[in-house]
Symmetry: C2
Subunit: 158 residues, 2 copies
């Protein structure tokens, strides 16, 4: 019985579960006319910070989802380093966000779809902190669908 | 006579002049116990934004001088892109800040001393926007002296 409940909890707090929470943040960006990228920071299976892309709304190129989430998580923890945390983000981080993750040192980074244009893995050098473990491709199809839907709607309005 | 005054103005608004303004910002960081890095953004020979490192004060790894200055400049201009601007920063930007500069697209980046540990030029790929011209080594000695003074004082207090 207890084993069953533990199994259920393990499934509940899976990478896919938290990525779907990041997708909810991406949807908020989508609805605000922003490129739909969302992020959450998780510490001991609790979401301690959320963020979504606000570059248009704030008129600020630095306002990516990850940057918002890193700042909010550090604020919550009262410390700059996120080594006990996992950052979930729907799209592969760009070099700016990977550079920020280097400084923030999360224990784990999980991202959904790859970014073939500005993703940090296109740079032939390690940009993240060496102690950050990376998992990719989680809920990637849902992310890709949301991105495609956003950009095809944008094109229709041009 | 007019030529003399124009010559004076040209000297007044040199890269060294604006770098000394960035150094004033770095000194503010120094006095607050922050790693002393300062930046200014210049548009049509006017300083439209200033920033200095606030990572300790704000408990936020993303609060580098360049990030503050980019956000403040965009706020001043009412637009995200800094293509008409020059960003002066005392120390070579890290990969995070170079990534932010990619998105902000300043016409020119001027930095003082090289950062042999985290400088963006250590990455074997172009991180800045291709339209951003780079000048380096301006007032580098003053920057290096300030950095050395800061870190040797830190070591004495350990």
């Amino acid at each position: 019985m207890i084993q069953d409940r533990m199994m259920e909890m393990t499934e509940l707090f899976s990478d896919a579960y938290f990525m779907r929470e990041a997708l909810k943040e991406a949807l908020r960006a989508y609805d605000a006319g922003e490129v739909p990228v969302g992020a959450v920071v998780v510490c001991e299976q609790r979401i301690i910070a959320r963020g979504h892309n606000l570059t248009e709304c704030l008129n600020d190129v630095t306002a990516h989802a990850e940057m918002q989430a890193i700042t909010a998580a550090a604020n919550h923890l009262g410390g700059k380093y996120l080594n006990q945390c996992t950052l979930y983000v729907t799209l592969e981080p760009c070099t700016m966000c990977a550079g920020a993750l280097y400084w923030a040192r999360p224990g784990k980074l999980v991202y959904g779809a790859a970014d073939d244009k500005r993703g940090f893995t296109l740079v032939p050098a390690p940009l993240l902190h060496p102690k950050t473990i990376v998992t990719k491709g989680v809920e990637a199809q849902a992310v890709t669908q949301m991105m495609q839907s956003f950009f095809s709607a944008k094109r229709r309005h041009l």
